[in-house]
Protein backbone atom coordinates (compact mmCIF):
# COMPACT_ATOMS: atom_id res chain seq x y z
CA UNK A 1 0.00 0.00 0.00
CA UNK A 2 1.29 3.48 -0.81
CA UNK A 3 -0.23 6.86 -0.02
CA UNK A 4 -1.47 8.85 -3.02
CA UNK A 5 0.66 11.67 -4.44
CA UNK A 6 -0.89 15.12 -4.70
CA UNK A 7 1.93 17.28 -6.02
CA UNK A 8 0.73 19.88 -8.48
CA UNK A 9 1.87 23.07 -10.18
CA UNK A 10 0.75 26.36 -8.68
CA UNK A 11 -0.99 27.14 -11.95
CA UNK A 12 -3.09 23.96 -11.97
CA UNK A 13 -3.82 24.13 -8.25
CA UNK A 14 -4.97 27.77 -8.31
CA UNK A 15 -7.20 26.98 -11.32
CA UNK A 16 -9.41 25.29 -8.69
CA UNK A 17 -10.36 28.75 -7.42
CA UNK A 18 -13.44 30.27 -9.06
CA UNK A 19 -14.75 33.82 -9.11
CA UNK A 20 -17.14 34.34 -6.20
CA UNK A 21 -15.35 31.81 -4.00
CA UNK A 22 -14.54 32.15 -0.33
CA UNK A 23 -10.80 31.68 0.12
CA UNK A 24 -9.00 31.18 3.43
CA UNK A 25 -5.40 32.34 3.45
CA UNK A 26 -2.93 31.26 6.13
CA UNK A 27 -0.38 33.52 7.74
CA UNK A 28 0.06 36.12 10.47
CA UNK A 29 2.00 38.94 8.89
CA UNK A 30 4.71 37.47 6.71
CA UNK A 31 5.24 34.08 8.44
CA UNK A 32 2.93 31.44 7.02
CA UNK A 33 1.55 33.58 4.19
CA UNK A 34 1.45 31.62 0.88
CA UNK A 35 2.90 34.41 -1.27
CA UNK A 36 3.50 32.22 -4.32
CA UNK A 37 -0.07 30.90 -4.41
CA UNK A 38 -1.39 34.45 -3.94
CA UNK A 39 0.78 35.68 -6.86
CA UNK A 40 -0.68 32.96 -9.06
CA UNK A 41 -4.21 33.90 -7.99
CA UNK A 42 -3.43 37.50 -8.95
CA UNK A 43 -2.09 36.30 -12.32
CA UNK A 44 -5.21 34.22 -13.03
CA UNK A 45 -7.48 37.04 -11.87
CA UNK A 46 -10.48 35.31 -10.30
CA UNK A 47 -12.71 38.03 -8.85
CA UNK A 48 -15.47 38.74 -6.33
CA UNK A 49 -13.56 36.78 -3.72
CA UNK A 50 -14.27 36.66 0.00
CA UNK A 51 -10.91 36.41 1.73
CA UNK A 52 -10.57 35.08 5.27
CA UNK A 53 -7.18 35.97 6.70
CA UNK A 54 -5.88 37.17 10.06
CA UNK A 55 -4.54 40.38 8.51
CA UNK A 56 -4.19 42.07 5.13
CA UNK A 57 -0.38 41.87 4.99
CA UNK A 58 1.40 45.13 4.16
CA UNK A 59 1.50 47.39 1.12
CA UNK A 60 2.94 45.50 -1.84
CA UNK A 61 2.80 42.11 -0.14
CA UNK A 62 0.52 39.07 -0.20
CA UNK A 63 -3.17 39.85 0.10
CA UNK A 64 -2.44 43.47 -0.82
CA UNK A 65 -1.87 42.37 -4.45
CA UNK A 66 -5.39 40.89 -4.52
CA UNK A 67 -6.82 44.12 -3.12
CA UNK A 68 -4.85 46.26 -5.58
CA UNK A 69 -6.08 44.07 -8.44
CA UNK A 70 -9.72 44.52 -7.39
CA UNK A 71 -10.28 40.80 -6.83
CA UNK A 72 -11.65 41.02 -3.28
CA UNK A 73 -15.23 41.96 -2.40
CA UNK A 74 -15.23 40.98 1.24
CA UNK A 75 -12.57 40.44 3.91
CA UNK A 76 -13.07 38.60 7.21
CA UNK A 77 -10.13 39.53 9.39
CA UNK A 78 -8.86 40.63 12.80
CA UNK A 79 -6.47 43.47 12.06
CA UNK A 80 -5.60 45.49 8.95
CA UNK A 81 -3.54 48.24 10.59
CA UNK A 82 -0.43 47.59 8.49
CA UNK A 83 -2.26 47.89 5.17
CA UNK A 84 -3.37 51.47 4.41
CA UNK A 85 -4.95 50.30 1.11
CA UNK A 86 -7.26 47.90 2.98
CA UNK A 87 -8.31 50.67 5.39
CA UNK A 88 -8.85 53.13 2.51
CA UNK A 89 -10.92 50.63 0.46
CA UNK A 90 -13.00 49.89 3.55
CA UNK A 91 -13.55 53.58 4.29
CA UNK A 92 -14.54 54.21 0.64
CA UNK A 93 -17.08 51.39 0.80
CA UNK A 94 -15.23 49.40 -1.88
CA UNK A 95 -14.29 46.55 0.44
CA UNK A 96 -16.64 44.98 2.95
CA UNK A 97 -14.67 44.18 6.10
CA UNK A 98 -15.93 41.94 8.90
CA UNK A 99 -13.73 42.24 12.00
CA UNK A 100 -13.52 39.33 14.35
CA UNK A 101 -11.64 38.84 17.63
CA UNK A 102 -8.50 36.93 16.72
CA UNK A 103 -9.01 33.82 18.83
CA UNK A 104 -12.67 33.73 17.84
CA UNK A 105 -11.70 33.79 14.17
CA UNK A 106 -9.44 30.82 14.94
CA UNK A 107 -12.29 28.98 16.68
CA UNK A 108 -14.81 29.78 13.93
CA UNK A 109 -12.39 28.28 11.42
CA UNK A 110 -11.65 25.33 13.65
CA UNK A 111 -15.38 24.74 14.17
CA UNK A 112 -15.93 24.81 10.42
CA UNK A 113 -13.11 22.32 10.07
CA UNK A 114 -14.60 20.10 12.74
CA UNK A 115 -17.98 19.94 11.01
CA UNK A 116 -19.69 22.13 13.60
CA UNK A 117 -22.17 24.89 12.84
CA UNK A 118 -21.19 27.51 15.42
CA UNK A 119 -19.49 28.26 18.69
CA UNK A 120 -20.87 30.11 21.73
CA UNK A 121 -18.72 32.67 23.50
CA UNK A 122 -18.76 35.70 25.76
CA UNK A 123 -15.85 37.33 23.91
CA UNK A 124 -16.77 40.80 22.65
CA UNK A 125 -20.37 40.22 23.75
CA UNK A 126 -20.85 43.79 24.98
CA UNK A 127 -18.80 45.53 22.29
CA UNK A 128 -19.50 46.71 18.75
CA UNK A 129 -18.53 43.25 17.44
CA UNK A 130 -21.42 41.71 19.36
CA UNK A 131 -24.16 43.77 17.73
CA UNK A 132 -26.80 41.68 15.98
CA UNK A 133 -25.39 38.27 16.89
CA UNK A 134 -27.80 35.73 18.42
CA UNK A 135 -27.69 35.29 22.21
CA UNK A 136 -28.24 32.14 24.20
CA UNK A 137 -28.16 31.39 27.93
CA UNK A 138 -25.72 28.74 29.13
CA UNK A 139 -25.75 27.90 32.85
CA UNK A 140 -27.57 31.18 33.42
CA UNK A 141 -24.94 33.26 31.66
CA UNK A 142 -25.37 35.04 28.36
CA UNK A 143 -23.32 33.82 25.44
CA UNK A 144 -23.14 34.92 21.83
CA UNK A 145 -23.38 32.62 18.84
CA UNK A 146 -20.54 32.95 16.35
CA UNK A 147 -21.10 30.97 13.18
CA UNK A 148 -18.52 28.48 11.97
CA UNK A 149 -16.52 29.41 8.87
CA UNK A 150 -15.80 27.19 5.89
CA UNK A 151 -14.24 28.11 2.58
CA UNK A 152 -14.25 26.84 -0.97
CA UNK A 153 -10.47 26.92 -1.04
CA UNK A 154 -7.69 27.31 1.56
CA UNK A 155 -4.23 28.54 0.58
CA UNK A 156 -1.50 27.50 3.02
CA UNK A 157 2.25 27.84 3.43
CA UNK A 158 4.18 24.94 4.97
CA UNK A 159 7.85 24.59 5.78
CA UNK A 160 7.95 20.91 4.88
CA UNK A 161 5.48 18.56 3.25
CA UNK A 162 5.40 15.15 1.63
CA UNK A 163 3.58 14.32 -1.61
CA UNK A 164 0.58 12.98 0.31
CA UNK A 165 0.04 16.39 1.92
CA UNK A 166 1.33 15.85 5.44
CA UNK A 167 2.44 19.31 6.55
CA UNK A 168 4.90 20.75 9.04
CA UNK A 169 4.97 24.47 9.75
CA UNK A 170 7.94 26.52 10.97
CA UNK A 171 7.99 28.58 14.18
CA UNK A 172 5.30 31.29 14.21
CA UNK A 173 4.44 30.52 10.58
CA UNK A 174 2.00 27.91 11.96
CA UNK A 175 -0.68 30.38 13.19
CA UNK A 176 -3.93 29.85 11.19
CA UNK A 177 -2.50 27.35 8.69
CA UNK A 178 -3.39 24.05 10.43
CA UNK A 179 -6.87 25.36 11.29
CA UNK A 180 -7.65 26.46 7.74
CA UNK A 181 -6.28 23.14 6.50
CA UNK A 182 -9.38 21.52 8.01
CA UNK A 183 -11.97 24.06 6.94
CA UNK A 184 -12.04 24.19 3.14
CA UNK A 185 -13.40 21.97 0.39
CA UNK A 186 -10.15 22.33 -1.56
CA UNK A 187 -6.91 22.74 0.37
CA UNK A 188 -3.78 23.88 -1.48
CA UNK A 189 -0.48 23.94 0.41
CA UNK A 190 2.73 25.41 -0.91
CA UNK A 191 5.81 23.95 0.77
CA UNK A 192 9.41 25.12 0.93
CA UNK A 193 10.62 21.53 0.92
CA UNK A 194 8.75 18.46 -0.33
CA UNK A 195 10.34 15.31 1.07
CA UNK A 196 9.68 11.79 -0.18
CA UNK A 197 6.77 10.13 1.59
CA UNK A 198 7.98 8.48 4.79
CA UNK A 199 10.69 10.97 5.62
CA UNK A 200 8.59 13.17 7.89
CA UNK A 201 8.20 11.86 11.46
CA UNK A 202 4.58 10.68 12.02
CA UNK A 203 4.83 12.02 15.59
CA UNK A 204 5.61 15.50 14.36
CA UNK A 205 2.99 16.17 11.68
CA UNK A 206 1.05 19.41 12.23
CA UNK A 207 -1.54 18.72 9.51
CA UNK A 208 -2.32 15.14 8.46
CA UNK A 209 -2.35 14.51 4.71
CA UNK A 210 -6.03 13.55 4.28
CA UNK A 211 -7.01 17.21 4.78
CA UNK A 212 -4.85 18.39 1.88
CA UNK A 213 -5.78 18.23 -1.83
CA UNK A 214 -2.77 19.75 -3.59
CA UNK A 215 0.90 20.16 -2.66
CA UNK A 216 2.88 22.80 -4.55
CA UNK A 217 6.67 22.60 -4.20
CA UNK A 218 8.31 26.03 -4.02
CA UNK A 219 11.54 26.84 -5.78
CA UNK A 220 13.72 29.71 -4.67
CA UNK A 221 11.71 31.95 -2.37
CA UNK A 222 10.79 35.43 -3.58
CA UNK A 223 11.70 38.57 -1.66
CA UNK A 224 8.23 38.64 -0.10
CA UNK A 225 9.18 35.78 2.22
CA UNK A 226 12.26 37.56 3.57
CA UNK A 227 12.81 39.51 6.76
CA UNK A 228 11.06 42.88 6.45
CA UNK A 229 13.27 45.82 7.43
CA UNK A 230 10.81 48.46 8.60
Amino acid sequence: MILPHKTQTAQAAIAQVHSGDTVMVGGFGVPGTPFTLIRELVRQGQSDLTIIKNDANETGMGVDHLLANGQVTRLITTHIGLNPRAIALMNEGKLEVEFCAQGILAERVRAGGAGLKAIATDIAIDTELGIGKPRIAIDGQEAMVETALRADVALLHADRADPFGNLVFAATARNFNPLMAMAASCVIAEAETVLPTGQLDPNSMHTPGPFVDHVVALGALSQEYAVVRR
Binding site: T78, D126, V227
Partner: protein, 217 residues
Protein backbone atom coordinates in the same frame (compact mmCIF):
# COMPACT_ATOMS: atom_id res chain seq x y z
CA UNK B 1 11.98 57.17 23.95
CA UNK B 2 11.82 60.01 26.50
CA UNK B 3 13.20 59.51 30.01
CA UNK B 4 9.67 59.72 31.42
CA UNK B 5 8.48 56.94 29.11
CA UNK B 6 11.52 54.83 29.93
CA UNK B 7 10.85 55.20 33.66
CA UNK B 8 7.20 54.26 33.10
CA UNK B 9 8.18 51.12 31.23
CA UNK B 10 10.77 50.20 33.88
CA UNK B 11 8.21 50.76 36.64
CA UNK B 12 5.65 48.57 34.85
CA UNK B 13 8.25 45.80 34.55
CA UNK B 14 8.51 45.73 38.36
CA UNK B 15 4.86 44.63 38.55
CA UNK B 16 5.69 41.34 36.85
CA UNK B 17 5.99 38.71 39.57
CA UNK B 18 8.22 35.64 39.28
CA UNK B 19 6.43 32.68 37.72
CA UNK B 20 3.87 34.64 35.74
CA UNK B 21 2.69 34.03 32.18
CA UNK B 22 2.55 37.49 30.61
CA UNK B 23 1.45 38.97 27.28
CA UNK B 24 2.96 42.31 26.32
CA UNK B 25 0.80 44.25 23.87
CA UNK B 26 1.96 46.09 20.78
CA UNK B 27 3.72 49.42 21.33
CA UNK B 28 5.02 50.63 24.70
CA UNK B 29 4.23 47.36 26.54
CA UNK B 30 6.59 45.43 24.25
CA UNK B 31 9.43 47.61 25.58
CA UNK B 32 8.96 46.09 29.03
CA UNK B 33 10.96 43.06 27.93
CA UNK B 34 14.14 45.18 27.98
CA UNK B 35 13.70 45.61 31.75
CA UNK B 36 13.47 41.92 32.65
CA UNK B 37 16.72 40.38 33.86
CA UNK B 38 17.98 37.41 31.88
CA UNK B 39 17.61 35.14 34.95
CA UNK B 40 14.12 36.39 35.91
CA UNK B 41 11.59 33.50 35.87
CA UNK B 42 8.71 34.58 33.61
CA UNK B 43 7.03 33.15 30.50
CA UNK B 44 6.16 35.74 27.87
CA UNK B 45 3.34 34.80 25.49
CA UNK B 46 2.65 36.27 22.09
CA UNK B 47 -0.70 35.60 20.49
CA UNK B 48 0.64 34.62 17.08
CA UNK B 49 1.78 31.36 18.64
CA UNK B 50 4.77 31.34 20.98
CA UNK B 51 5.28 30.89 24.71
CA UNK B 52 8.75 31.75 25.95
CA UNK B 53 9.33 34.88 23.86
CA UNK B 54 12.98 35.95 23.94
CA UNK B 55 14.64 39.27 23.15
CA UNK B 56 14.19 41.09 19.83
CA UNK B 57 17.00 40.33 17.38
CA UNK B 58 18.73 42.69 14.94
CA UNK B 59 17.64 42.19 11.31
CA UNK B 60 20.83 40.40 10.31
CA UNK B 61 20.20 37.71 12.93
CA UNK B 62 16.40 37.54 12.52
CA UNK B 63 14.52 34.33 11.64
CA UNK B 64 11.98 35.28 8.96
CA UNK B 65 9.48 32.83 10.53
CA UNK B 66 9.81 34.09 14.09
CA UNK B 67 7.94 37.27 14.97
CA UNK B 68 5.78 38.52 17.81
CA UNK B 69 2.25 39.79 17.28
CA UNK B 70 3.59 43.27 16.60
CA UNK B 71 5.83 42.00 13.82
CA UNK B 72 9.12 42.35 15.74
CA UNK B 73 11.72 39.66 15.04
CA UNK B 74 11.97 37.99 18.44
CA UNK B 75 13.85 34.93 19.65
CA UNK B 76 13.15 31.89 21.79
CA UNK B 77 14.47 30.90 25.21
CA UNK B 78 15.22 27.38 26.46
CA UNK B 79 11.79 25.74 26.81
CA UNK B 80 9.88 27.86 24.29
CA UNK B 81 6.91 26.31 22.47
CA UNK B 82 5.16 27.13 19.21
CA UNK B 83 1.45 26.55 18.66
CA UNK B 84 -1.40 27.51 16.36
CA UNK B 85 -3.76 30.48 16.83
CA UNK B 86 -6.52 28.39 18.43
CA UNK B 87 -4.18 27.02 21.09
CA UNK B 88 -2.76 30.49 21.62
CA UNK B 89 -6.16 31.93 22.52
CA UNK B 90 -7.24 28.85 24.47
CA UNK B 91 -4.35 29.80 26.74
CA UNK B 92 -5.74 33.34 27.01
CA UNK B 93 -9.43 32.54 27.44
CA UNK B 94 -9.01 29.66 29.89
CA UNK B 95 -7.30 31.81 32.50
CA UNK B 96 -3.68 30.72 31.99
CA UNK B 97 -2.54 34.27 31.24
CA UNK B 98 -1.66 35.91 34.56
CA UNK B 99 -1.09 39.41 33.24
CA UNK B 100 -1.39 41.44 30.08
CA UNK B 101 0.04 44.90 29.55
CA UNK B 102 -1.80 46.86 26.87
CA UNK B 103 -1.79 50.26 25.24
CA UNK B 104 -4.84 52.52 25.34
CA UNK B 105 -6.63 55.38 23.62
CA UNK B 106 -8.85 55.82 26.69
CA UNK B 107 -9.36 54.21 30.10
CA UNK B 108 -12.46 55.04 32.13
CA UNK B 109 -12.69 55.32 35.93
CA UNK B 110 -14.58 51.99 35.82
CA UNK B 111 -11.65 50.27 34.11
CA UNK B 112 -13.28 50.25 30.67
CA UNK B 113 -10.66 50.12 27.91
CA UNK B 114 -10.81 51.60 24.41
CA UNK B 115 -7.79 50.84 22.23
CA UNK B 116 -8.92 49.60 18.84
CA UNK B 117 -10.99 52.13 16.94
CA UNK B 118 -11.27 55.86 16.38
CA UNK B 119 -14.38 56.03 14.17
CA UNK B 120 -13.77 57.70 10.81
CA UNK B 121 -10.04 58.10 11.47
CA UNK B 122 -8.34 54.88 12.44
CA UNK B 123 -10.02 51.49 12.47
CA UNK B 124 -7.40 48.79 12.16
CA UNK B 125 -9.36 46.11 14.03
CA UNK B 126 -8.71 44.78 17.51
CA UNK B 127 -6.57 41.76 16.63
CA UNK B 128 -6.28 39.72 19.82
CA UNK B 129 -6.86 42.71 22.10
CA UNK B 130 -10.45 41.94 23.03
CA UNK B 131 -9.62 38.50 24.39
CA UNK B 132 -6.50 39.74 26.18
CA UNK B 133 -8.48 42.55 27.84
CA UNK B 134 -11.47 40.39 28.69
CA UNK B 135 -9.75 37.21 29.87
CA UNK B 136 -6.26 37.89 31.24
CA UNK B 137 -6.34 37.50 35.02
CA UNK B 138 -4.92 41.00 35.42
CA UNK B 139 -4.97 43.79 32.84
CA UNK B 140 -2.76 46.84 33.17
CA UNK B 141 -2.30 49.70 30.73
CA UNK B 142 0.80 51.62 29.71
CA UNK B 143 0.05 54.98 28.13
CA UNK B 144 1.03 58.59 28.07
CA UNK B 145 -1.11 60.45 30.58
CA UNK B 146 -2.53 62.77 27.92
CA UNK B 147 -2.91 62.51 24.15
CA UNK B 148 -0.97 64.55 21.57
CA UNK B 149 -3.37 67.45 21.98
CA UNK B 150 -2.97 67.40 25.74
CA UNK B 151 -6.40 65.88 26.46
CA UNK B 152 -6.66 63.34 29.31
CA UNK B 153 -6.65 59.66 28.33
CA UNK B 154 -7.97 58.69 31.76
CA UNK B 155 -11.60 59.72 31.69
CA UNK B 156 -14.85 59.46 33.59
CA UNK B 157 -16.34 57.51 30.67
CA UNK B 158 -14.79 56.29 27.42
CA UNK B 159 -16.09 58.01 24.30
CA UNK B 160 -14.56 55.56 21.79
CA UNK B 161 -15.82 52.03 21.02
CA UNK B 162 -14.77 49.74 23.86
CA UNK B 163 -12.35 46.86 23.69
CA UNK B 164 -13.73 45.47 26.96
CA UNK B 165 -15.69 46.68 29.97
CA UNK B 166 -14.28 47.00 33.50
CA UNK B 167 -11.08 45.12 32.74
CA UNK B 168 -8.22 47.47 33.68
CA UNK B 169 -6.74 47.23 37.21
CA UNK B 170 -3.83 49.65 36.96
CA UNK B 171 -2.53 52.36 34.63
CA UNK B 172 1.14 53.27 34.29
CA UNK B 173 1.69 56.67 32.70
CA UNK B 174 4.59 59.03 32.18
CA UNK B 175 3.22 60.99 35.18
CA UNK B 176 1.85 58.45 37.65
CA UNK B 177 0.79 54.98 38.67
CA UNK B 178 -2.96 54.94 39.12
CA UNK B 179 -5.19 52.07 40.24
CA UNK B 180 -8.79 51.54 39.17
CA UNK B 181 -10.74 50.92 42.37
CA UNK B 182 -14.44 50.33 43.01
CA UNK B 183 -14.73 54.06 43.72
CA UNK B 184 -12.69 55.21 40.71
CA UNK B 185 -9.10 56.25 40.02
CA UNK B 186 -6.65 56.22 42.96
CA UNK B 187 -3.15 57.69 42.77
CA UNK B 188 -0.44 55.29 43.97
CA UNK B 189 2.87 56.77 42.79
CA UNK B 190 4.17 59.89 41.06
CA UNK B 191 6.77 60.02 38.31
CA UNK B 192 9.99 61.94 38.95
CA UNK B 193 9.36 65.57 38.08
CA UNK B 194 5.56 65.28 38.04
CA UNK B 195 3.73 67.22 40.71
CA UNK B 196 0.43 66.32 42.25
CA UNK B 197 -1.52 69.29 40.91
CA UNK B 198 -0.37 68.56 37.34
CA UNK B 199 -1.44 64.94 37.61
CA UNK B 200 -4.86 65.82 39.03
CA UNK B 201 -5.35 68.39 36.27
CA UNK B 202 -4.29 65.94 33.54
CA UNK B 203 -6.70 63.25 34.75
CA UNK B 204 -10.19 63.49 33.26
CA UNK B 205 -12.00 62.02 36.28
CA UNK B 206 -11.81 62.38 40.07
CA UNK B 207 -8.49 61.09 41.42
CA UNK B 208 -8.25 59.85 45.01
CA UNK B 209 -4.95 61.01 46.50
CA UNK B 210 -3.33 59.13 49.41
CA UNK B 211 -2.52 60.85 52.67
CA UNK B 212 1.13 61.52 53.42
CA UNK B 213 4.15 60.98 51.19
CA UNK B 214 3.51 59.65 47.71
CA UNK B 215 6.16 57.21 46.41
CA UNK B 216 8.19 58.47 43.45
CA UNK B 217 9.27 56.23 40.52
Amino acid sequence: MSDAKRRMVARAARDIAPGMVVNLGIGLPTQVIAHLASDFPVCLHTENGLSGVGPVLPYERADRNLIDAGGAYVSTVPGSAYFDSAVSFALVRSGRLDLTMLGAFEVSQHGDLANWKIPGKFSPGAGGGIELAQKARRVVVLTTHVDRKGAPKLKAECTLPLTAHACVSRVFTDMAVIDVTPTGFALRELAQGANLDQVVAATGAPLAVPEGDIPIF
